[in-house]
């Protein structure tokens, strides 16, 4: 049978149908070879950006895993523009926001709301560090049980994040987990429960600190800070006993990547900044910018304008540069905890001792700071004011101030509006300060069915 025409150079020939069939068959086979024989391989793709989870449940994976936790903690503490130190300082009286985005303006104005992407991001950064610390500690216990001090640091980080949730946010922070695809939604914690969790974390850290003095002292100061939050002043003083004045538990920054830069510098001193320094904010704010040459609050004037372009002559802080380490805890804080415990005595002798202690801290600083003139306050209220002002200057821009203001309300019976910035917002912001005393836990936490909103928004 001949059916098909094929045109040769000079002639037309008839070719058998079977040849046409053969051609079609070859095509079908080619398709078959393409699609049937190699289907599994065809659907396999390279994923070089994906680091398999299983690879980090091995001894080789332990170090990158814990380094990641340290990096996450650093970013959350003081490694991004909206880091813990920055936003709590803004809600408190250390900073304000010459910005044009309500995410930051609302915090500055004490109008904390659930829907706030920037504040949510920082809350997530802290949770990331907390989740990572828990995971890394479990993996290390499993595959590298001899790395005790390294595991201790995971508990130190876990403890500090628990303190930060307690001091920065309203009551209600939960901790959830997912294992093998099964989600366990955490229950909201009260502020006291969070401090309690932190104490437990530092207890574990202490038992694992091994020969590392750095982690031992960090655990002690962290434990003392958590106990202060619980108003267990004497226990706090006991916890920090023996911590040397020179001790510092630091975050480390570099220019290797944007997330490794010092976030306070980025927020306050770099270009048209979204945050700036302030003194005497809202009637109650401390006079940070009126302390002359106090080395605890170093700043210089500038003609910079802020992000909103209308706030000129922004002061530039000089405590933190682009790669300067942040101070999470130090020996001075330990001494302040001891002094605060003493202050609880309430007698003039206690006030005298605290006054002397504060001046001792000043004189032993390098460079030395002139001693406070006069004598100890005659009233407990004045002594508390003086103590918390000194504490604020020592811990300026280190994420302590908001927690201290909350304690002034919660533990010392101060009225909120006598502690927090209040009244008319500083120009060019318009309107008045609101009433928030903490940052509201973000809306998306409501994806956790156990969370129905803040348990308590009081200080």
């Amino acid at each position: 049978m001949t059916i098909l025409l094929r045109r040769d150079r000079h002639m037309t020939t008839l070719i058998p149908a079977r040849r046409a069939v053969a051609r079609a068959g070859v095509m079908a086979l080619a398709l078959g070879a393409l699609s049937a024989c190699k289907t599994d391989q065809l659907l396999t793709v390279a994923t070089p950006d994906v680091l398999e989870v299983a690879a980090y449940k091995t001894p080789d994976g332990v170090d990158p895993l814990r380094f990641g936790v340290i990096s996450d903690f650093t970013r959350a503490f003081d490694g991004n523009t909206d880091a813990f130190t920055v936003i709590t300082g803004t809600l408190a009286d250390e900073m304000y926001a010459p910005d044009t985005f309500d995410d930051r303006l609302s915090i500055n104005a004490r109008r904390s709301v659930e829907i706030n992407g920037t504040m949510e991001a920082e809350y997530r950064h802290l949770q990331q560090a907390h989740l990572g610390a828990i995971n890394a500690a479990m993996v290390m216990a499993d595959v590298a049980p001899t790395l005790k001090s390294q595991r201790s640091e995971m508990y130190v980080i876990r403890g500090f994040t628990e303190i930060f949730f307690a001091e920065g946010w309203c009551a209600g922070t939960a901790f959830s987990s997912e294992t093998d695809g099964v989600t366990t939604n955490g229950m909201p914690n009260t502020t006291a429960q969070l401090f309690g969790l932190a104490v437990a974390s530092f207890d574990t850290a202490l038992t694992l600190a091994d020969t590392s003095a750095r982690l031992k002292y960090a655990s002690q100061v962290g434990r003392g800070r958590a106990l202060l939050g619980l108003a267990r002043f004497a226990d706090a003083a006991t916890a920090v006993a023996g911590v040397p004045r020179t001790f510092q538990y630091l975050t480390f920054h570099s220019t290797a990547s944007a997330r490794e830069e010092n976030g306070i510098w980025n927020a306050v001193a770099n270009g048209a900044s979204r945050y700036s320094l302030i003194g005497n904010e809202g009637q109650n704010g401390l006079p940070y910018l009126s302390l002359g040459t106090d080395p605890r609050v170093p700043w210089v004037p500038s003609t910079r304008t802020g992000f909103n372009s209308t706030t000129p002559n922004l002061p530039t802080e000089t405590k933190f540069g682009r790669t300067t380490s942040g101070i999470v805890a130090d020996g001075t804080e330990a001494q302040l905890i001891i002094l605060e415990a003493r202050l609880q005595g309430g007698a003039q002798a206690d006030r005298d001792a605290v006054f002397a202690g504060l001046n001792a801290l000043r004189s032993s600083n390098s460079p030395a700071i002139p001693a406070m003139a006069g004598s100890a306050p005659a009233t407990q209220a004045a002594a508390v004011d003086q103590f918390f002002a000194e504490r604020a200057y020592w811990t300026w821009l280190t994420g302590h101030r908001l927690g201290d203001m909350r304690r002034l309300v919660r533990q010392y019976g101060r009225d909120t509006e006598s502690v927090y910035p209040t009244g008319t917002l500083q120009s060019p912001l318009v309107g008045s300060f609101g009433t928030a005393t903490s940052i509201v836990i973000p809306f998306n936490e409501r994806s956790n069915p156990n969370f129905k909103g803040c348990l308590d928004t009081k200080a």
């Binding site: 098909l4 149908a17 079609a24 068959g25 078959g32 989870v53 996450d72 992407g117 910079r304 994806s447």
Partner: protein
């Protein structure tokens, strides 16, 4: 092991359970189709040849489709109108000839064994023809047999008089249901949405095919961020190279295109040579472009109490609220805008030039089309002379053009299309397209270093200075010259290569193979040289980022179609095929900060960093389609496609997409009244499904590397990057579409009316993950939601006057779209999107809808100032409106005079139903910068209230406006020069065309422009935020044919 996933050395595999069966079935079907040759073996063949001409003018028609009905045999007429079809079965065959814009013609022709029969055809012009041929997965098909509507744009015939510069603009207003937003600076891409948005979390870009192969057409194709708007891969393709564009609008029509086709498919066919003499076409275009709002931007405001001054004597800034509180008293109010100041504005006229040459021709055996064109545009920005002078004095040298003119685009397009007839039964077409694109883009939109930000986010105060004391003159934070010192460039070299082979073992069988490779390599740099840029910022030390990327799309598409007439008027057309698509993208980024003088490379940076990213996905699909027809007037279509994809979760093997449809040419029934009132009438209805694949690694739980400095030493570190979802599957969109097509009044009027209802189920929602569970991982893709788009589409074409002297024609393209989220999934919170969470995605409302708390106000004390205590804010937010148009209407009239040598065409584009968020005003009112409502005592109370709601409560509803507008989009006047003049230039035809684009807009929207957007994405794409509005163009073009 993590959740049972095997470690595979950086590779991942999906093993669909039923994949082998489906492929095997397809291959067997292909084999059977070929093997069944025997069943209808022929005994000989003949040739049908002839010419196709315009019945009115007598001129040859190029590119007319000539087909032997009931077979797979067909061809196109050449430049001289000639066609030849070989291998035709002897006997009486029905020849069908048609072309876009002409009536179809059928005629019986008697073919003898070994003989040649001549059949010349003269086609009459018509508004619309159902016999028009469109390109689909299964090859070319007449519109009549499709049960869905496909919009066809005849680009080749009109490109010379279209005032468009990009392929995206070609689609605007020319196909119903297709929404195009082309804003932004020169080189910015177009966002194209067909029948609304279907996905909250995945791309809503349509698929694009060029000459049978899938290509990269991402609307966000920029390698380096410049703030918002970015380049588009679709716009790389030169409009001058395009013959036609078919728009396949939704899943009902795009089922056989498989996964990724749910957002519609744009099928581009480039020009091909036609047998005949060599034809040359040369063109030259020059023009001007500019921001039409230059000099008429809204002012920025400030007020002072000059009786209160600081130590330096500066008057106190006094707001209305401070005035109301009696802390100051406004005694002077200033308003201005650097964009309206001829000395300070960075807005200047740009220009455009394009030159091109095309040649086509060939013989029966080989046809060719070669094309080359180059275009250059200089955008609407220029550094103000006062800033040039300042920088020259500062730098002691001249300023480079790359800083003076931060926006420019230069593009070269080359194309070679060859088609060869290997035998009477086989032909091969090879297309090679090359693009060299160089774009210089200013930093703009949502970034503090933007040119427009530096102007519009500034202040009316002119007394402020930057950190070193340089006067800001009203610019925001930095002098404009410093902002424009950042240079962003992007170069893309791209090849789009395809091979289309067709083999006809028998007249009833068509087999085809399409192979394609779309390769593009990009190189983008953002550079601020040492001691340039924003003073006080890190970039001042010198900063450079460089991103190099490669994007590849591979296509292997094989199929066969068999046409059989089993009995009388019954015909069947059976198609099967297999398709393989492989997408690959890799980028390498590096940056250097702290550059020595003169350095421009990342390696010179004191601080260097780098990163890499790779994404890869594979889709493998098989399909089958059966079209049953009766008497060429009833067509019943059924089809099924099966896809497996590397991005599906491990627990999900593959997906089936079915389709079924009916097309009924009622006017071909005997009982249908014959006459000139209604010439043809067709009813059609179809249902089909398609999908969109998840992100390439969305199914996986994995770690990601991060930088870590531990005790002062950089260390390798990882953190959890994604939670993963092993059950992930594609979004599944099912669509029902029905409508009718009608021609009437002697074929002078055509109407297409279509209703569609597209429902996306298993919609991939980036479900919020609680911070306590996910940490930084704020969402996880889950197949939870359901989203519906429904609406009407109308295309009406009316040739009111159509004679040798005069032609008058109107094209009306209209559509509606109602978008609604039906469900988000159990336990899933509504999803906030948009700037400052102004969009709220909740069931019962459209995707990306704008929401706000409401407020009331009353000037209780009658002082003419609204203060916060005089406002009442609602506790909850309410819906303000969709952020994208729900109604569109485009009117395109065309008038031809002087023996139709003079043509005047225009396009008026109306869009309504949208609410637009005036983000620039929000910025001016919040933070105390510049909005009138903060300072001017004469501000109407409603504007004061909107200002106070914004500044004191973070409530933005007062800044969400009706975004309705009507735009005079296009105007073109073309004149065919007298033949004598043309001949003097040795040309057979010479045409001069003047065009204008974006000539006027009518709107109540108070912002800069209702089409100004912040980017090409959906979430903020319609928000006005420091961008470039649609530019106004005027061009003159000369076109010569030889």
């Amino acid at each position: 092991m993590e959740h049972g996933r095997p470690i595979s050395h950086g590779m991942r595999s999906t093993k669909p359970v039923s994949w082998r069966r489906a492929v095997t079935a397809t291959v067997v079907a292909l084999g059977l189709a070929a093997g069944s040759l025997r069943a209808s073996a022929q005994t000989g063949s003949g040739i049908v040849t002839g010419h196709v001409t315009d019945a009115g003018a007598g001129l040859p028609i190029r590119g007319a489709s000539v087909r032997i009905v009931g077979t797979q045999l067909g061809t196109q007429s050449g430049d001289d109108g000639q066609y030849t079809i070989r291998g035709v079965k002897p006997g009486i065959v029905n020849v069908q000839v048609n072309h876009i814009g002409y009536e179809v013609k059928h005629a019986p022709v008697t073919v003898t064994d070994g003989g040649t029969v001549t059949f010349n055809v003269a086609l009459a012009q018509a508004a619309f023809s159902l016999a028009e041929v469109v390109t689909t997965v299964t090859g070319t098909q007449s519109k009549a047999e499709l049960s869905n509507t496909i919009a066809t744009i005849d680009v080749a015939s009109h490109i010379s008089e279209m005032p468009v510069t990009t392929t995206g603009q070609l689609l605007s207003g020319r196909a119903s249901g297709v929404q195009v937003q082309s804003g932004g600076a020169v080189g910015s891409g177009s966002r194209i949405r067909i029948r609304g948005q279907s996905s909250l979390s995945l791309t809503n870009d349509p698929l694009v095919y060029v000459d049978g192969i899938r290509v990269n057409a991402s609307s966000s194709n920029g390698l380096i961020g410049t703030g918002g708007n970015t380049t588009s891969a679709l716009d790389n393709i030169a409009p001058e190279e395009i013959e036609t564009i078919d728009v396949i609008k939704g899943p009902a029509a795009a089922t056989l295109y498989g996964t990724q086709a749910a957002n519609g498919v744009i099928v581009i066919t480039t020009k091909n040579g036609k047998a005949g003499s060599t034809r040359w076409n040369a063109f030259s275009e020059n023009g001007t472009l500019y921001n039409p709002y230059k000099g008429s931007y809204s002012d920025l405001w400030v007020a002072f109490d000059t009786n209160q001054r600081d130590a330096k004597g500066t008057a106190k800034v006094c707001t209305l609220l401070a005035s109301a509180a009696h802390t100051c008293q406004i005694d002077s109010v200033f308003h201005n805008n650097v964009l309206n100041d001829p000395v300070l504005t960075p807005l200047q006229h740009g220009n455009r030039a394009q030159y091109g040459l095309q040649v086509s021709g060939g013989s029966d055996k080989l046809q060719y089309f070669l094309s080359g064109d180059t275009q250059h545009e200089q955008g609407p920005y220029k550094m103000p002379q006062i800033e040039i002078d300042r920088l020259m004095a500062e730098r002691h040298t001249t300023i480079g053009d790359d800083q003076i003119y931060p926006n420019a685009a230069k593009k070269v397009n080359l194309r070679a299309n060859l088609t060869t007839q290997l035998s009477p039964k086989a032909d091969v077409a090879v297309s090679i397209g090359f693009i060299d694109s160089d774009i210089r883009n200013p930093t703009n939109e949502d970034t503090q270093g933007g040119v427009i930000v530096d102007a519009l986010a500034g202040t009316a105060r002119t007394d402020l200075k930057d950190a070193r004391g340089v006067a800001l003159l009203g610019y925001r934070s930095f002098p404009m010259g410093d902002v424009m010192s950042r240079v962003n460039t992007e170069n893309v070299n791209r090849f789009i290569n395809s091979l289309n082979a067709r083999y006809y073992p028998a007249s009833w069988l068509n087999t085809r193979l399409n192979l394609g490779y779309d390769y593009s390599a990009g190189n983008a740099t953002s550079l601020v040289r040492f001691n340039q840029g924003q003073y006080g910022a890190t970039e001042r030390t010198g900063s450079v980022s460089n991103v190099r990327g490669e994007t590849d799309v591979y296509t292997v598409d094989a199929g066969a179609t068999a046409t059989v007439s089993p009995h009388g008027n019954f015909n069947t057309k059976s198609s099967v095929g297999v398709q393989y698509f492989h997408n690959f993208n890799a980028t390498t980024s590096a940056s250097g900060v702290g550059l020595p003088p003169g350095a421009t490379t990342t390696g010179a940076g004191a601080v260097r960093s780098n990163s890499q990213s790779t994404t890869e996905s594979v889709n493998l699909g098989v399909y089958g389609e059966e079209v049953l027809s009766y008497a060429d007037r009833v067509f019943l279509t059924g089809g099924l496609r099966y896809d497996a994809n590397s991005a599906f979760g491990q627990n999900f093997s593959g997906v089936y997409y079915p389709k079924v449809g009916l097309s009924w040419l009622a006017s071909e029934q005997g009982w249908f009244p014959k006459g000139d009132l209604v010439n043809s009438f067709r009813l059609r209805a179809t249902y089909g499904a398609s999908g969109v694949q998840p992100g390439t690694v969305s199914a996986l739980r994995y770690f990601t590397p991060v930088g870590a400095n531990v005790l002062g030493t950089e260390q390798p570190a990882v953190t959890l990057g994604a939670l993963g979802n092993s059950d992930l599957r594609p979004e599944y969109s099912g669509e029902f579409e029905t409508g009718f097509d009608m021609t009437a009044f002697k074929n002078k009027t055509s109407i297409e009316l279509t209703y569609y209802n597209k429902k996306t189920k298993d919609a991939l929602i980036s479900a919020p993950v609680s911070p306590s569970l996910g940490g930084d991982i704020s969402s996880r893709l889950e197949n939870l939601g359901s989203i519906r788009n429904q609406g009407l589409e109308l295309t009406l074409n009316n040739k009111l006057i159509d004679n040798n002297q005069v032609g008058l024609e109107f094209l009306v393209v209209a559509s509606t779209n109602k978008n609604e989220i039906l469900t988000l999934g159990q336990g899933i919170l509504p999803v906030y999107t948009g700037n400052l969470s102004t969009q709220y995605n909740a069931p019962g409302y459209p995707l990306y809808g704008l929401w706000s708390k409401t407020y009331t106000y009353a000037d209780a004390n009658g002082d003419g100032i609204i203060v916060p205590s005089e406002m009442k804010i609602s506790d909850t937010a309410s819906f303000k409106g969709p952020s994208f148009p729900t109604h569109e209407l485009t009117l395109s009239p065309r008038l031809e005079l002087l023996r139709r040598k003079l043509a005047i065409s225009a396009q008026f584009d109306h869009k309504d139903g949208l609410t637009k968020y005036y983000g620039v005003l929000r910025n001016g009112c919040q933070g105390g910068a510049s909005c009138r409502g903060l300072y001017d005592p004469t501000t109407p109370l409603d504007q004061q209230a909107a200002t106070v709601a914004t500044s004191s409560y973070g409530v933005y509803g007062g800044l969400m406006y009706n975004g309705e507008f009507t735009r005079f989009r296009e105007l073109a006047v073309s004149y065919q020069l007298p033949d004598a003049f043309a001949k003097r230039l040795r040309s057979s035809r010479a045409t001069i065309i003047g065009t204008g684009r974006n000539l006027a807009v009518w709107t109540s929207y108070p912002g800069v422009d209702p089409e100004e957007g912040v980017g090409s994405g959906d979430q903020r794409g319609n928000e006005e935020f420091f961008g470039t509005p649609p530019l106004r163009y005027f061009t003159i073009r000369l076109n010569f044919n030889f």
